[in-house]
């Protein structure tokens, strides 16, 4: 391991340093928002159960047929509520992004997928059983009866089939076999499957009958979810792209295959982007326009321009370092909580590997800390293959942060984020960074490496809320 501190090490900390263990002001505000959103989610499940009970549901458990039917109705209500929550989580609502960050919201979205599907499948199975018991026919006949005699049931069965397809293609094992674009196209069918299920909810079963208050609540819920998807997922990005008119202003080669792209546009301060956030970019050039890519800002955004630093890895992004000046760029964003907003304490540690240095570089520019209270760790195979080192060195000097470059190959067969010699010397995150447990740790790099850093920090006793990272793989 070679340690290179580039003379950024700050001398002894002044005697009157602020109490570094006191919480960061952003934390309480963000947690209040997070609490309210979580309470809202759970209350929405309680509301649908209350709707069932308010209709006299508690009395409908007397016979096996009634019990199956009632449980089926509850499963359908709760399952649909979860589906709507999933849609909201994927709608990129600003409050959700501010409270949890895009990737955390998507992680919850992903974890709700299977429970929602099981509840909807249970809804179908329980109701078929309940109805067939009530009518003394077998389940096959009952399913056929439902399909042919009940209003809107063919559509509901179609919705169920689509939903099964969407969840199966999203299972990690299956998902790996698809291109992102193909998988995403299938995934968008989820919107359709939710829509085609609406008619049967209103026409079959008396719970949401015409004139019932529950019907209006239910419809308002759907309207709110549809509205937020249309506005924040589709309209807002288009409006922003048109309004801000981003174009490529300059492309600076950083290393072979790596370039910093500066974009200019109108009134960019209105975007309220902050360091460490990402946008989903679409470059309107031959061979690039059909794919959108998430890239983080690599310097603090200003009214004049935004800068990203990209490494051509994917099929189309290989061409990105060669994009021409003046190319129009549309975008979705800014998104993400890899920002000052995620802070919990007054000390900060920034850890980057590879092109993960981009958001770390912009964070270092604006994240708040008193001189001496920040450490930047840059991890690479060798001292030569690091990006933006000169910029980092300069910023560290100006702001009073310590920069350490940790170079060397990882040992084979051991899961660690450090070089082989560091591991054998018993070095870990807590031995490199002073007062680690009272710091916010920002980590950006390849996923397995990030996981290894997170494990190291956790085993050093750092609480989860102080560890910040974002995942970009789908």
């Amino acid at each position: 391991m070679s340690l290179d501190t580039r003379k950024t090490r700050v001398g002894t900390a002044p005697a009157n340093t602020p109490r570094v263990t006191s919480p960061h002001p952003a934390y309480q505000k963000r947690m209040r928002l997070a609490d309210s959103l979580q309470i809202l989610c759970i209350a929405s499940v309680a509301i649908v159960i209350a709707i069932f009970l308010a209709d006299g549901g508690a009395a409908k458990f007397g016979t096996p047929a009634d019990a199956f039917t009632s449980l089926g109705i509850i499963a359908g209500l709760v399952g649909t509520d979860l589906l709507l929550i999933m849609l909201v989580l994927a709608a990129r609502l600003p409050p959700i992004d501010r409270a949890f960050g895009h990737d955390q919201a998507m992680a919850v979205h992903q974890s709700l997928g299977k429970p929602a599907l099981y509840l909807i499948l249970g809804h179908a199975a329980l109701l078929i059983t309940g109805y067939s018991l009530a009518e003394n026919v077998n389940v096959v006949v009952e399913t056929w009866n439902m399909f042919t005699t009940l209003p809107d049931m063919p559509l509901a069965f179609l919705g169920l089939a689509l939903m099964i397809g969407v969840v199966i293609t999203s299972l990690v094992v299956v998902r790996r076999k698809f291109r992102y674009e193909a998988w995403h196209a299938v995934h968008l069918l989820a919107y359709f499957s939710v829509l085609v299920a609406i008619p049967h909810q209103l026409s079959v079963g008396g719970l949401l009958r015409d004139g019932a208050i529950a019907r209006y609540y239910w419809l308002a819920l759907y309207a709110a979810v549809a509205g937020s998807i249309i506005v924040f997922r589709f309209l807002l990005p288009v409006i922003r792209s048109l309004r801000h008119r981003l174009v490529v202003d300059r492309v600076d080669a950083v290393a072979p295959g790596v370039a910093s792209i500066t974009l200019t546009g109108r009134k960019l301060d209105r975007l309220r982007a902050t360091s460490g956030q990402f946008f989903v970019w679409r470059f309107w050039a031959d061979g690039l326009w059909w794919q959108a890519h998430p890239f983080s800002l690599s310097s603090a955004p200003s009214a004049r321009g935004l800068r990203i630093t990209v490494r051509g890895l994917g099929d189309a992004s290989k061409q990105l370092p060669h994009v021409k000046r003046g190319t129009r760029v549309s975008f979705e964003g800014p998104y993400g909580l890899f920002t000052e907003n995620a802070r919990t304490l007054l000390r900060v540690v920034l850890i980057a590997a590879g092109i993960g240095v981009a958001p770390i570089r912009s964070l270092l520019e604006t994240v708040s800390f008193a001189p001496g209270n920040a450490t930047v760790l840059l991890r690479s195979h060798s001292l030569g293959d690091t990006y933006l080192v000169d910029e980092l060195t300069d910023l560290c000097r100006r702001r009073g942060a310590e920069l350490r470059i940790i170079a060397g190959k990882r040992p084979k067969g051991v899961s660690t984020w450090l070089p082989a010699d560091a591991v054998s010397a018993g070095i870990s995150l807590s031995t490199i960074v002073p007062e680690l447990e009272s710091s916010d740790i920002y980590i950006c790099g390849p996923r397995p490496w990030t996981d290894a850093v997170v494990r190291d920090a956790r085993s050093a006793g750092v609480p989860k809320k102080q560890i910040h990272y974002e995942r970009f793989d789908w």
Binding site: A43, G56, A134, L150, G206
Partner: protein
């Protein structure tokens, strides 16, 4: 989630579900008292139109129903399941017969005075899937509206069937101008109950 978020969410959920439960139990009580009262009026037709004959018929029917109700109450206090059932059945049969007679008499009287105008409530017809009751509006000798007052609602499925079948039956009745229309397929019980209740209302009206 933070502990305070968990606590608040639990509190909110419990109170929301509690409110739902409260609303539900009052709804259940209301529907039970409704069933009890409609049990008494078994096959009686109540008439909201006010001609003397019809009013008299109604009074007679109501009287019969009261007898039935009283008998039923008596039977309940007797507390022996078998005899209670028998007594109630007998009383109900009596009441039904009386009501039928009253209704027929009313119909006969009404027929002489030609069909009346007004809104007539049909009998409550008990089916395997719950009670069925409709009202019919007659104006100038024509059926102008049929409204369901109670639809078969035992289990979500039969509610769905009722909701689907009722509008079809209504439009068929308005076209045919009688209760002699075809059952809606897949909704046999609903159709039979609907048309029987309608017929009783039409009988009352002397239509």
């Amino acid at each position: 989630m933070r502990a305070r978020a968990v606590a608040l969410a639990t509190l909110a959920s419990v109170s929301i579900v509690g409110i739902g439960w409260q609303l539900g139990s009052s709804a259940i009580e209301a529907s039970q008292s409704l069933t009890a009262s409609s049990g008494g009026t078994a096959m009686a037709a109540t008439v909201t139109a006010t001609t003397d004959a019809a009013a008299r018929a109604a009074a007679a029917a109501k009287g019969a129903a009261d007898v039935a109700a009283a008998a039923k109450a008596q039977a309940d206090t007797a507390n022996t399941a078998a005899s209670a059932q028998a007594a109630a059945d007998a009383a109900a049969a009596n009441a039904a017969a009386a009501a039928q007679a009253a209704a027929t008499a009313a119909a006969a009287t009404a027929a002489q005075a030609a069909a009346q105008s007004g809104t007539f409530t049909g009998a409550v017809v008990q089916t395997q899937y719950g009670n069925m009751q409709v009202s019919v509006t007659i104006a100038n000798g024509a059926i102008t509206e049929v409204l369901p007052l109670q639809l078969t609602n035992r289990g979500g499925r039969s509610v769905g069937i009722s909701n689907q079948a009722a509008p079809i039956l209504r439009s068929e009745v308005l076209t045919a101008q009688s209760a002699k229309v075809q059952n809606v397929s897949g909704a046999t019980y609903t159709s039979e109950g609907y048309l029987r209740s309608l017929q009783s209302a039409l009988d009352t009206a002397g239509f």
